[in-house]
Symmetry: C2
């Protein structure tokens, strides 16, 4: 496998955009990424699109050529990748693999979702399809309910508290308030987070990520070619995708995700990087408890210590390992299919030193972790400043 | 890219199976393929699943790990590929590419769809999502309507007749009647086909493929490794995936599909094989006119001659180039996401000499062509007996 670089990134704002359709969001993000890479659409050899549930949210399927042709790609492989909330993480994994293995020299990986045209109950129902509809889904377990069980068990097993969960929300809202592309740019206090409307005990509305529209895209080339196009490329050290059971009740221990652990281990090993060397990370905080569990599964803190660690400010912008400097899914928003590639764009911005008010001091090595369902898919990417 | 071989194939029967769920169909096909390859599930390094619309048909999304874990795959990349009716063709393309490029040594590509739990009007509506819902779909154009327009134009431009279309149906039903795994094992006469219930003029019910449940799977390894597992491997000479506009009205000429032409050209070139050397083919006959157009776009006959060629028996079992010896989508059935890998299984059966009553005399080089939508995606695969 040869070294690979990201030479262009593009994101739309994340938010509720009643006057925008899914395709225009994706085309905008791809256009930004190509402009950033100084490349015409005609030079792209393959298009990797992550989308979770376009057919259910907006009634449009066959999205890869539908978006690809509008973005200027014809006659090339245009493929949609679906792995629940890790759909564009998976698209990025396959895009990276094809370039690393020498199949292509220029590819685009993107992700998109348009969720806000459906009511919140219908969105919740569509999202439940990422779980096991023949079991937990039939029993009425929505994702807030599944992650509430994970939180409850984590509290029972490790002493995690509501304050720990709320601390994650406070931090991510604080970061997101500084991100011009975030969905909810609103600072939240610990008291506000604790007093949030209950969604599924112990999770309040402040523990849950947002229902958003948005898109993100990156341009990937072999590292040796990157200087032809830009002086601002970022090196992709490793990408790992793994899987596990979809149903939460199939898991031995719901306070950790084997897919996150194994994807992390594979990514660290392939990049020859240890968790201690990671300087910033975008973690998949679909719920606050998910960020806590991920910080443990990825080896940033010992098992059970994710809550106190966050509450102590270690993952804040000025902490020892800033997490979700973008605001995370909590504040930046979570247009499901766009999230994986969006996280990668956010890490690239930090590594380039382009994160403005949110810029962290140490920004040489970053990690992005994209989770699908309640841990059935995970994609971990390690990036380094060139 | 290194040579690649298929060492195992597995198919369920295609049909209407009210007592089977989507997952059990896919797991059965994967199990058959692994048994055929003499391999345990634990040796598989990545799982590529084609599925068009599981969320819409059966309310289950995140299908790759959902099926993968049930098939015995854990801790490996499990990814769903969607490209409308070419979903599992695309899964196969990416699976082949990963082995050919040296990323993996043992992978499984599969496809599945469970359609018959929905009413025919609802199925038609779901299938319409493979077209442009913001244009042709909003105007009420279902796929039978789109392909009826293609047929009308082909008739106008080249003199194709209803009898030519019906001849394709008669041939495919004749073949399918000999296929134990076919959905509709029923011989149809030309008169019957011509007198079929009109669906969208000039297409009758006999011009339209079936709404089916079913799954198919293959095991892929580097060619040098194949003899370790089986003496019955088949060589994958080339696989090409290309794309084009989703909306029919975006195409310059609706009597041909540029994506089919370019995928064919790329596949022929990579395999160093000419259309004349193809000895049997599975073509994507979602409608009879689609088989006629594909036989032209792939260079088997000059443009416009596909109808007379089929009517003259050239594509019959004992013709110069037998097409759809399985019965095709018309008689074998068209569980959308399973079709691409299913076609490949059918070609492999012929190349192995295992096609029983349907076995053709010359069976060294075969081709499979999988179409998505009204030509927006095409995957062409060329296989040779080992």
């Amino acid at each position: 496998m040869r070294p690979v670089a990201i030479i262009g990134i593009g994101k739309t704002a994340f938010g509720a955009f009643p006057d925008r359709d899914l395709r225009s969001l994706a085309v905008e993000a791809v256009g930004h990424a190509l402009t950033d890479a100084n490349l015409p659409a005609a030079s792209v050899e393959a298009f990797y699109l992550g989308n979770f549930a376009g057919p259910s949210f907006v009634g449009q399927n066959h999205l890869a050529p539908y978006i690809g042709t509008a973005a200027g790609f014809t006659g090339i492989p245009c493929t949609r990748f679906e792995d629940a909330c890790a759909s564009s993480g998976s698209a990025f994994f396959h895009a990276w693999q094809s370039v690393a293995a020498g199949v292509y020299d220029i590819v685009v990986a993107a992700g998109v979702e348009k969720m806000t045209s459906q009511s919140t109950p219908r969105v919740t129902e569509i999202l439940a399809g990422a779980g096991d509809m023949s079991g937990e889904g039939r029993a009425g377990a929505t994702f807030p309910a599944l992650f509430a069980m994970i939180a409850r068990r984590h509290m029972h097993q490790y002493g995690t508290t509501r304050e720990h969960l709320a601390a994650v929300a406070v931090k991510n809202h604080s970061n997101g308030a500084k991100n011009p592309l975030a969905h909810m740019r609103k600072v939240v206090t610990l008291d506000q987070a604790l007093a949030g409307k209950p969604i599924a005990e112990p999770l309040t509305v402040y523990d849950c990520s947002l229902i958003s529209d948005g898109a993100a895209a990156v341009v990937i080339v072999p590292a040796y070619r990157a200087p032809r196009y830009t002086s601002r490329s970022v090196r992709v050290c490793s990408v790992a995708q793994t899987s596990d059971y979809v149903a939460l009740d199939s898991k031995k221990d719901i306070t950790c995700f084997p897919a996150v652990q194994s994807a992390g281990q594979k990514a660290y090993q392939a990049a020859a990087v240890s968790p201690k060397e990671i300087q910033l990370a975008e973690l998949h905080d679909c719920f606050t408890i998910a960020e806590i569990v991920a910080s443990e599964d990825l080896g940033f803190v010992p098992k059970g210590q994710g809550g106190p660690w966050a509450a102590a400010g270690c993952s804040a912008l000025n902490g020892s390992l800033p997490i979700n400097t973008s605001g995370g899914l909590k504040s930046k928003g979570h247009p499901v299919g766009a999230t994986g590639v969006g996280q990668i764009c956010d890490v690239v911005m930090q590594l380039r030193g382009d994160a403005g008010e949110r810029q962290v001091a140490r920004h040489q090595v970053g990690l992005a972790q994209n989770l699908g369902g309640s841990g059935a898919t995970c994609v971990v990417t390690i990036l380094k400043a060139a």
